[in-house]
Symmetry: C2
Subunit: 456 residues, 2 copies
C-alpha cells in the first residue's frame, strides 16, 4: 500500500497490516465470496476512525468496516480492495443503565458479552442472531440482525435508541437519544441500521433493553404433510398467542439430521419447534396449551413437550445441528434467508423443492416460521463449474419465487454482494434511484464499502 505510512501514524505499527498472510482471513466472510483487501487497520478510538476515514476520503480509498466477519451475504468482502477496518478493539461497554433501560456500548462489543452483563441484572438485548457468541453489536446494527425470537421480540432496529457514526467525510454525528421515545427531527439512526457499512462507520450504539422472561416452555411436533405444518404455523400465529420461538425444519433437513446424528426422528415432511415464555409459569403453560391444541388439530405424527432442561436441550438438538450437519454433507453451500408472509410458508417450501429438482441440487430448508424467515441451504461443489452454475440458477429461481409470494430477498442476512444483482427484483426504479441518491449524498466519493447493493 502506498499510503501505509499515514495509517501507521494513526493507529500505530502493530494495529496496521498489509502482510499477505494477515490479509487472507479478511478476504472472507461466512458467504462464498472472496476478495483480498490492501490493508487492515484496527482502530481503538472514534478519533482514530475519524482520521482513517478522512484519509480514505481524501485519497478515495475504499473502507470496509468489519465486526466479526460473520456476514452470510458477502457484506464485509472488500470487493474493490482498499482497507478493512476491524472494530473489534472498540469493545467497551460504556454504560449499563438498568433504571433508564438502556445499554451504551462501543461498536466492537460482542453480542453475548453484552447479554452476559445484562443477565446479571435480569435484563437482555433481545435480538439473538445465531452468531451472537462472536458477532459484534456494530455488525448487528449494520445488518439489522434478527434471530430466532424475532416474531415476538423484533430485530435490532427495534432496540436502537441512538448511534454515534463517523460519516464518510470524517465528521462525527450523534443521532437518536437516551430516551425510550424520540421524534425530534428525521430518524437518521434508522438510515444506518441495515446499511451494511455503506453510509458510514458505526462507532457507538445505545440500545433499549428488556427484562428477561422468567419462564419458557418448549415443544416439538412433526407432521407427515407439509400443508398441515403450514396450517399449524399460521393458525398458531392467529390464535392470540405469540410464541417466542416457532422454528420449522423441512424433510431434507430432517433427513440430513437423521442420517448424521443419533437423534430419533420419524419420517416427516416437517418438524416445528416452539417455545412460549412469560413472567409466570401459568402464562407459559396456558399459551402452550393453545399452541398444542392447534398442532393437534393439524394431524401431527408426534408431539413432545419438555419436562425439564435436559428435555429442552434434546428437543433443540435437531434444530441446532441443522446447519453443521448440512454443511458437512457437501463441499460447499450457500445459506439464504428469503422471507414470505407467514401463510405462504408451505408454498415457499414446495416451490423450493421444485427448484432443487429442476436444477438437480439438494436444498434443505429450515428457519424462523413465526416470521416467515426461512433459510434454504443450497448444497453444491464450488470446484465443479457446472455445480456453481446450477447453484446460481437455484438462487435466482428462489429469489423470484419469494418475490412472487409477496416476500423479500432477505429477512436478516442482508443484500451485501451475494444479492446485489437481484435488488431490482424487489425494489422499483423509484426506490432504487432514491437509495442511490442517498448513498451519493452521504458518500460522494463512494469510499464506504463500495460495490455492494447495486448502489455504484
Amino acid at each position: 500500500m502506498q499510503e501505509k505510512q499515514k495509517l501507521i501514524e494513526i493507529v500505530g505499527q502493530e494495529h496496521f497490516t498489509d502482510q499477505i498472510e494477515e490479509l487472507v482471513p479478511y478476504s472472507y466472510d461466512a458467504s462464498m465470496n472472496v476478495h483480498r483487501p490492501d490493508g487492515v487497520v484496527w482502530p481503538e478510538t472514534t478519533e482514530q476512525v475519524v482520521e482513517i476515514v478522512r484519509f480514505a476520503n481524501e485519497y478515495k480509498v475504499p473502507i470496509v468496516p468489519r465486526g466479526a466477519g460473520t456476514s452470510l451475504s458477502g457484506g464485509v468482502i472488500p470487493i474493490k480492495g482498499g482497507i478493512v477496518m476491524d472494530l473489534s478493539r472498540m469493545n467497551r461497554i460504556l454504560e449499563i443503565s438498568i433504571e433508564n433501560r438502556y445499554a451504551h456500548v462501543q461498536a466492537g462489543v460482542v453480542c453475548d458479552d453484552l447479554n452476559r452483563e445484562l443477565a446479571k441484572h435480569g435484563f437482555v438485548f433481545p435480538p439473538d442472531p445465531a452468531s451472537s457468541s462472536v458477532s459484534t453489536i456494530g455488525g448487528n446494527v449494520a445488518t439489522n440482525a434478527g434471530g430466532i425470537k424475532g416474531a415476538k421480540y423484533g430485530t435490532t432496529r427495534d432496540y436502537v435508541l441512538g448511534l454515534q457514526v463517523v460519516l464518510p467525510t470524517g465528521a462525527i454525528m450523534h443521532t437518536g437519544s437516551y430516551t425510550m421515545k424520540c421524534v425530534s427531527g428525521y430518524d437518521l439512526a434508522k438510515l444506518f441500521i441495515g446499511a451494511e457499512g455503506t453510509l458510514g462507520v458505526i462507532t457507538e450504539v445505545t440500545l433499549k433493553i428488556n427484562p428477561l422472561p422468567r419462564h419458557a416452555m418448549t415443544a416439538v411436533a412433526t407432521f407427515a404433510k407439509l400443508e398441515d405444518a403450514g396450517k399449524a404455523i399460521f393458525q398458531t400465529m392467529t390464535s392470540g398467542v405469540l410464541p417466542s420461538v416457532m422454528e420449522i425444519l423441512d424433510k431434507v433437513t430432517l433427513k440430513s439430521v437423521k442420517e448424521n446424528t443419533d437423534i430419533d426422528l420419524p419420517d416427516a415432511e416437517a418438524m416445528i419447534l416452539t417455545e412460549t415464555d412469560g413472567f409466570t409459569w401459568e402464562e407459559v403453560e396456558a399459551q402452550m396449551e393453545v399452541v398444542l391444541r392447534v398442532f393437534k388439530e393439524n394431524n401431527p405424527i408426534t408431539i413432545k413437550t419438555a419436562k425439564d432442561e435436559k428435555d429442552r436441550l434434546n428437543l433443540w438438538k435437531a434444530r441446532k445441528s441443522s446447519y453443521a450437519t448440512l454443511a458437512r454433507a457437501s463441499n460447499s453451500f450457500v445459506l439464504d434467508d428469503v422471507t414470505v408472509p407467514i401463510s405462504k410458508i408451505p408454498n415457499l417450501l414446495v416451490g423450493i423443492q421444485e427448484i432443487a429438482q429442476r436444477h438437480g441440487l439438494v436444498v434443505a430448508t429450515y428457519g424462523h416460521a413465526g416470521d416467515g424467515n426461512l433459510h434454504p441451504q443450497i448444497l453444491y461443489d464450488e470446484y465443479h463449474p457446472e455445480q456453481v452454475e446450477k447453484m446460481e440458477k437455484v438462487e435466482e429461481d428462489l429469489f423470484k419465487l419469494a418475490i412472487s409470494l409477496n416476500g423479500t430477498l432477505t429477512g436478516e442476512h442482508g443484500i451485501g454482494l451475494s444479492k446485489a444483482n437481484y435488488m431490482t427484483l424487489e425494489h422499483d426504479p423509484v426506490e432504487m434511484a432514491l437509495m442511490k441518491q442517498i448513498k451519493r449524498t452521504l458518500d460522494p466519493n463512494n469510499i464506504m464499502n463500495p460495490g455492494k447493493r447495486a448502489l455504484d
Copy 2:
C-alpha cells in the same frame, strides 16, 4: 389562487376550495399556531395525489399533507401558504390479513376505525395516541405517534412494515415489505416515519398487528413526596415487570382535577396509574403484585386496585380528565412532551416547578412515566402579550432542562413549527446539516410542508 383551475381539473370542483370560510379551519391544528392556506384539496386516489404534487413541484407551491389536524406542534400549519392536502377521503382499509399478521390501509383511515375492525379478530395496532378517535394512520406514521402503552408496546415506527409514498417530484415509491422481517436495501420507510410530511405524501401503509392482550389489571397509588413516586417508577421498570401503563400526574394537575371534578383525591405530590396485562389472569396478577410491592416500599399515601370494570374506569378518571380540566382552567395553553431517561422524572418535575415559579405561570405535568415522556401543560393567556412572552420563556427553559437531563424536545408530538427554533439545542451541527441535505435531496424545490423543523 392563480392555479386553481388545474387543481379543480384534478380533483373536481367539489373537492377543492379557496373560499375563506372553508380555509379557516385549515389554518389551525391543536397547537397555538395559525396560518391560512391558499387552498385545500381532498384527493381520493394516489393518482390524484401524484398530479397535485407534480403540479405543486412545477409551480413551486407549498403542499401540506394533513390527516385529522390534531398536531400539537403546528406540524400541519401551512406557514408558507400554499395548498393543504386533506387525505381524509383516502380512508379505505385495503386488506386485513390476520394469518400474515398485517393490515394494509390508505393513509386517511382513522386509527380507532382500524382497531375496531382488528378487534373483531382479536388483534390490535398497539400505538394508542390520545387522538385515536379522529387521528389518521397516515398522520400517525408522519408523526411516529406514541401513546400511553409505549413503554411496553413501542410507537408507530415499530409497526410499519411498508409504505406507499408520493415523493416531492410526484413519483410513486413503494418501500418496505409485507413480511415481518426485511433487510433488503436502505430502510427508506423509516425516513418518512416521523418526517411530518416534509419528505413526501404517505398514501398507503402496511402495519404489523398484534394479538390483543386478554387480561389487564389497574392500580393507582398516591405519594406525598415526589422523590418517592420517582423511585417507585424506575424501581418498577427495573423489577422484571414491564407494565402496559405507567402514568404520572403531578400536584398541579391533581389540584386542578380535584378542584374541577368530584374525584376524591388526597393531598399528594404525585399520583401513579398503572396497568399490567397478559394472556392469563395469573400473569397479570403476578406482575401487579411486584408493582404494588415496589409502590409499598416507597411510602405511598393510598393504593387502590380495580376489582371490576367500573372500578377501572374510576381509577382512570383523574388521568383522563387532566387535559380538559387544565384546558378549561385558562384562556390558552401549550401542551409539551419533553422526554427524559426514566430515572430523571423527579428532576424534570422539580425543575418544571422552578421554571413555572421563576416566570410566574402555572405549569401542570402528567404523562407516560414508563417511558419518561411527560406532558407539561403551560397555562397562559394568548391575549396578554406579557403572558405570551412568559410562556415562551417557560418553554425555552423547559427544553433546556430536558436536554440537560439527557432528554429530548419531543417524545411524540413532533418538532413541527413550535419547536423548530430549538432543534439545535438537541442536534449537533453535523446532524442538522445531514437532515438539511436529505431534505434538499428529496425535495429540491422545498414544496413539502416548508418552514418546519429549521430545515429551510
